[in-house]
């Protein structure tokens, strides 16, 4: 199977590889996929408390080159977006940007799921924080 230049570029020079502190209340962590399926993506983002903008994003992926590229691209796109903007990222945009063939579309779906899972985790943390903050006040 021939890979697009963009997939090769992300595979050879993956952006934003690494991990953020998952206990940080401003960090959301999403882990999707399963080893049995051959894909696991871990995607993390940190939201700036004042501006509500995603200021950092990191990933680690177990999967084929297209899965690595999809998650690498996702971290690039997340940075600088607000949480609500980030939720609008669609897997089809990833497919188009990376010219993924039909058999690799599930990689882009997984990346979208990872974004949603990370934001979901972040929101959950924020919500559970609120009452604590009030009692302190």
């Amino acid at each position: 199977m021939a890979y697009s230049d963009k997939v090769l570029d992300h595979y050879n020079n993956p952006r934003n590889v690494g991990s953020l502190d998952k206990n940080d209340p401003n960090v959301g962590t999403g882990m999707v996929g399963a080893p049995e399926c051959g894909d696991v993506m871990k995607l993390q983002l940190r939201v700036n408390e004042e501006s509500g903008v995603i200021e950092d994003a990191k990933f680690k992926t177990f999967g084929c080159g297209s899965a690595i590229a999809s998650s690498s691209l996702a971290t690039e796109w997340l940075k600088g977006k607000t949480v609500d903007e980030a939720l609008k990222i669609k897997n089809t945009e990833i497919v188009n940007e990376l010219s993924l063939p039909p058999v690799k579309i599930h990689c882009s779906v997984l990346a979208e799921d990872a974004i949603k899972a990370a934001i979901g985790d972040y929101k959950k943390k924020q919500n559970s924080r609120q009452p604590v903050a009030e009692t302190v006040a």
Binding site: E36, G38, K60, F62
Partner: protein
Amino acid sequence: MKTPIYFDNHATTPVDPRVLQAMLPYFTEKFGNAASRNHAFGWDSEQAVDKARKQVADLIGATSKEIVFTSGATESNNLAIKGVAEMYAEKGNHIITAATEHKAVLDTCKKLEKHGYKVTYLALQQNGLVDLDQLRAAITDKTILVSIMYANNEIGVLQPIAEIGKICKEKGVLFHTDGVQAVGKVPVNVIKDNIDLMSITAHKIYGPKGVGALYVRRKGPRVQLTAQMDGGGHERGMRSGTLNTPGIVGLGEAAAICQAEMAEESRRMAYLRDKLKSRLESELDEVFINGSMEHRLPNNLNMSFAYVEGESLLMGINDIAVSSGSACTSATLEPSYVLKALGVGDDLAHTSIRFGLGRFNTEAEVDYVAARVIEVVRKLRDLSPLYEMAKEGIDISKVEWVAEPTH
């Protein structure tokens, strides 16, 4: 050293230049039809076919009359299994095979099931070997054929063929083996191994593609087959069709070279394979060998690199030709059924790589491949959330994964 490096010799092998030289005259000046009985062109061709028949027979301890030339092992497997099923239909309708057979055997058996035959697919032991007691227990008075491959194409595991053949003989059941990966690589003898039918192909032993043979025993017992191809009655009526003289000459020459050089070549293959194995094992943690190391072709290594998905590894070592048991290398989204049959979990099956060494590989290539694989596995493990979790002491098998429903 030239790249890309070819380490996929279970898929196919290059034609040995000596084989090509032997073939060339039979394309041009010696182009006769081996069935033309009344002129020199035909005689030349027939003579060449006879010589090749003897060369193939000699390699496996058979006689010339027991060799039927075909278009390759897929045809040989089809002819053996369907030919026996049809010929012995009155005796019974039960066939026994194993879950790790090549698709040319499995799909042939599935086709027969649609026509009312019963097929038992034996499970394999974890080391890839057939359980002989299980085989014995599976044979009924309706069983007409057992088909178990000599060596597996993915994991290189050698079955206890002589014992299987002995059991079949005791029970009066015919025994077919797909000998494609074993013939020419390890000593195969149809008498000692109690084999009644055996499939062979040229392109795995440095011969050309598109030509193979089926060994059909003539004595003790005399095996009969219903032809699957009708026509001029070539090959003693078992396989009609004008003989592919250049291809057959190539198969014969390839067989003769294997016979002459097998002892030295298999030692060299084992040395190179073991070097590759020990380099990978000493420099990488959490690597696992799939299948028995003891009962194995000398040129095969099948290894799982935990936490590194196979296709991404292949992508990183793109100047090396190997193959992976990962789903991502095929369109099926299902990892290797062979590894699955051994009880290798899907997670590890996705991380497996098959290295198949061959006659033309060098020690320098082994060193290069080892270094590249080590480098890329390390890089991908830095990228792998699973490796990170494993290093943190998390048991990956106990994690509840949120897989997408499309999987």
